[in-house]
Each structure stands twice: as C-alpha cells, then as structure tokens.
Amino acid sequence: MERIVLPEIENLHLIDVYVQNQGYTAVKKAYSQTPDEVIDQVKKSGLRGRGGAAFSAGLKWSFMPKTTNKPKYLCINGDESEPGSFKDRQIFEYNPHQLIEGILITCYAIGAKVAYIYIRGEYHKWIKLMQKAVDDAYAAGYIGEKMKDNFGSDFSCDIYIHKGAGAYICGEESSLMNSLEGQRGYPRIKPPFPAQNGLWGCPTTINNVETITNVPPIINKGWEWFSKIGEPKHPGTILYGISGHVNKPGVYELPSGTLLTDLIYKYAGGVPGNKKVLCVIPGGSSMPPIRGDQIEGVKMDAESLKLVGSAIGTAGVMVMDEDTDLVKVLARISKFYHHESCGQCTPCREGTGWLEKILNRLVRGEGTSDDLDLLISVATNIEGNTICALGEAAAWPVRFMVTRFRDYFEERVKKNISLPVANKVHSMRETAIPLADVSK
C-alpha cells in the first residue's frame, strides 16, 4: 500500500532528500495553472478535512472571495489537542517539507500572502523541527520573495509558526484565530465564517496539517489517482492513531475505509492478553463510542462511521479491553472537557462541571440509576446550545456512552459488578441498542 502523507523514505525531513524525491515540483506545476484550476482539482479529488469535520477542502477554498481589497490569510491548524490524536506530530517530524509545499500551493489557490502554522505549545520539539524546515525552505528560496525565481511565477508568500500555550479550545478554528490575534482563545459566533471575516477581519481559510500535506501529491499525480484510493466518498489515506489496549499502538497510514477490526488486530497487533474489546472510541475522545461487540465490519471513514452512529473525527482510535472501568474512563473524559471549557456559554461552562461531578459520584460508588438519566439530561441540554462544538464534544461521549452501555452502567451503579470480572462484553449483547437508532 502506497503511503502519501508519510512515505517510507529515509531522512525525508531533510530538504535535500525531499527535493531529490520530486519535492517542490508540485508547487511549480500548480503555479503554471490558474488558482481556480488548482481549486478545481482539489475539489474533484474529493479531499476532505482531516481535522474532525471532514469537510471538502476544495469547497472550503472556493468560499474565499475572489475580489477583495483586504489581505487574505491561511491558517494551518496543528493544535492537535484532542485526546487520542497524535498524527500531526508525525508530519512535523518526518515530512515537514510536504506540509510546506502544500501550504505554498494552498496560498496560491486562495490568494493568501501569509500563512500561519499554529502548533500546540507542548510540542516544543516538533515546533523546533518545523521551524528548521521553514528556515531551510526560506534559505533555499522556496518561501518568500525568492520563490518567484524558483517557481517562475509572480506569486510569493510567507510562512510563520505560532506557538500555542496549552488551550485545547484553540483547535477550534475561530478560537485559533482569536489566539493568533493575541487574545483569549474564545470561539466566535458564526456566521460570519472565516472566509468572509477571519483573522483581523480579513478572509481566512483554516485547514488541518494532514489535509494540506495531501495537496502536493494530488497536484503531481492528478485528482483521478487520489479519488480512487480508499472509500469513494472520503478518498485518500488517513493517518489512524491507535492507542489504549493494543499491542502495537501508533500511527498507521492506511486507505480510508480500512476495517476497524483490521486496524486493531492486523496492524496494531490485537489486544494484550487476547482480551475482548469492550469499547472503541474511533475518532478522538469527543466522538461517540462504539461497543466492542459491534465493531465487526465497521469501516473507518467519515460516511461509514456515520452509519454506525459515530464519526471519524481525527481518526484517533482508543481501544478499551474488557477489564476497563468505563465509568472511570468517562469521568476522566468529562474532567478534560470541564477543564478545557472556555467559559463563554453557560450550558458548557456549568454543564461540563456537573457531568464531571456526577460521574465522580459514580466512580466513588455513590451513584444511583437516576444519575444516569441526569447525565443524559445534562448532556442533551449542552448540545446545540453553545457557540462552538466543545459543547457537543463534552456531551457526546457522555450521552452515547451511557446510552450504549446502559446495562453496564446500571450494573455498576447497583454494585453488581465486581471489577474486573463482571463487565464482559458477551453478557451485554441482548440489551445492546442498535447503533443507528441512538444517533441524532
């Protein structure tokens, strides 16, 4: 299987090696076409965003106004803070120049003269690696004024790296823009959307690191080639980050639509001790969890996961074996969203705290059956009532976990479960709720 984003080439992070492997040729090819032609190819390729929403990248670019007297901006979202996601750091480390080349092409397509790469502050090492790559590309004349000579076009742009400072919410695009502007990272009300009113009130496009790293191969090898990889409705490869109870956790670049069971058993080496899978969160901690007895045949792409009542998110797959205490896991997830709520909207600010409090009660063994309904009620009242999607991110795991594992939670509350013996997957099959029914 061919790898697109993280090819198996030694020392590809070095600019010389990257150039020897057709590096910086796609940008030249793109610059010989009109921006609209470039956008059109990316649109036809079917490339969808890899940051969580899986929105068509080419369509997003086409929202940028063609005529405006304001400067335009491109933001690359490398905040990567969703628990279970650790894919972008592989790109910073192993293939930074393909990201830079993707940025150069995107800037041309949307007419942006400046691009910011927003990288989470904790990634000190990867910020340094990425900065080195940007510096090398400047020195080689691939970024800045000198690129005009190199690529035979009038177009030039600059790339800067902005270091975050530990706020999960800054991965939300409007919050990211506020953070870049030097403010608290509060999400903005939409509309207006970034393409109309983004950074400093100017048209702005925000794309995920992995999305943009896919662009140079699309330009070089053509959209037809890309659109034939993996699932037709969500083509290309995906960087699946698999963590938790598997023998070989890590990032695997595989075609979209790879079977979840293949991911766990074929690539990640199965579950330690051959234990059963109790629960899988397929796309980072905010995505609806799937029951271990229902992972058979589940494909890992945006459309297929929708069918089973979950979502691809950032493709950060968390696997939990049969001895996992789901109540503790859910309490930990809720602690996270409570901690990261920016506090603007009451339902999220207060609700995330309540969820954490109730779940901690359950962890201590002081919960009741009513608490389970209360959890669902609080979660439901957060959803859709907040400015940004952190509300959903906090509510979904609670609502879906409690609904889909209701039997487990009931037993736990009634103290019928003597951990780690009783929470076996097979004991719950009869009470399992068909997944499609509980999706919104």
Binding site: P83, A165, G166, E181, G182, W200, S243
Partner: protein, 160 residues
C-alpha cells in the same frame, strides 16, 4: 521587582513583531520570551509586556490567565508534567502519577521546598501512541513504566 527585557530579548521581540500585522498579536510569543528570562509571569512582567506592545495590562492578564502554559508563580527548575488523560490512563498513568507524587512529596501544582521540582497533572500531550508519558520541562519521556519514571526523576535529582 521591576522587570526589563535583556537587550538580546528585545531584539528577539522585534523580529517576532515582523510576523504579525498588529503588535497585540505578538503577546503570546513575547510572553514566552519573558517567561524564559524570568522563569514565570509576574505582574511586573505583564506591565512591561503591555507597555512594549502598547496594549492594556488587562489584555495581557487576560491572555496569561487563559493559557495554562504561562506560569503565574515560580516553578521548580524541573517542571514535571504527567499526562493522565484516557490513552495514558489506559496504560497505567495513574499509578505512575501517584509514584511521582510520592517521590517528590508534592501534589498537583506544588513546588518542592528546594525549588528543584514542580508537578503538574496535564491533559493529553499527544503521546497516546507512546503512553504513558511524563514531560520534564520541554522534553517528553515516553513508553514509561513506574520504574522508568522513578529512574528519570532520580537522574534529575542527581543533577543537582
């Protein structure tokens, strides 16, 4: 205590300012430069940053209090961060965190009396595939066991 940037850092700030169309946008990188020089963000640091960037002190305070990576008190020489989020938790982060607490004799947010160590329970650091992990200042230590974590702490203790 009054805070002034060193000459070298003032030059760094000038080069940072060229990246953004407004001075205000440089507040995060400038605060990082200040934290590197001063060790933490004091009220005096915020005043100086505000005056250099020509923004209000409240704006700077707002940024400092929003982001967890700006320290509002002096931290230890070695700032130990332990991730306990789900992926790490599933691979034993809590026993590891307990051991670190026991070994250092401090709790979340605490600083040892000799100011050598401080401890923070952090959210997901992006080491899910190499969990569990601790970070010492800027460096990640991954694929840990309780024993390995102990060894790492010992090695920093012996450095003093």
């Amino acid at each position: 205590m009054e805070f002034k940037f060193t000459e070298e850092n003032l030059q760094k700030i000038n080069s940072v300012l060229t990246k953004y169309p407004t001075k205000k946008a440089a507040v995060m990188p400038v605060l990082y430069i200040a934290q590197e020089q001063n060790g933490w963000i004091s009220l005096e640091v915020m005043k100086e940053v505000a005056s250099i960037l020509e923004i209000s002190q409240e704006d700077v305070l707002g940024v400092v209090t929003f982001y967890t990576m700006y320290h509002q008190k002096p931290m230890g020489k070695y700032h130990i961060q332990v991730c306990t989020n789900v992926s790490c938790m599933l691979r034993g982060a809590y026993p590891l965190y307990d051991k670190v607490r026991e070994k250092l004799g401090i709790n979340n947010g605490g600083v040892t009396e000799d100011h050598q160590f401080s401890l923070e329970e952090v959210e997901c650091m992006g080491s899910c595939g190499t969990a569990p992990m601790i970070a010492v200042n800027e460096d990640f230590y991954e694929n840990l066991t309780v024993e390995k974590a102990e060894e790492i702490l010992e090695s920093f203790k012996n450095k003093n």
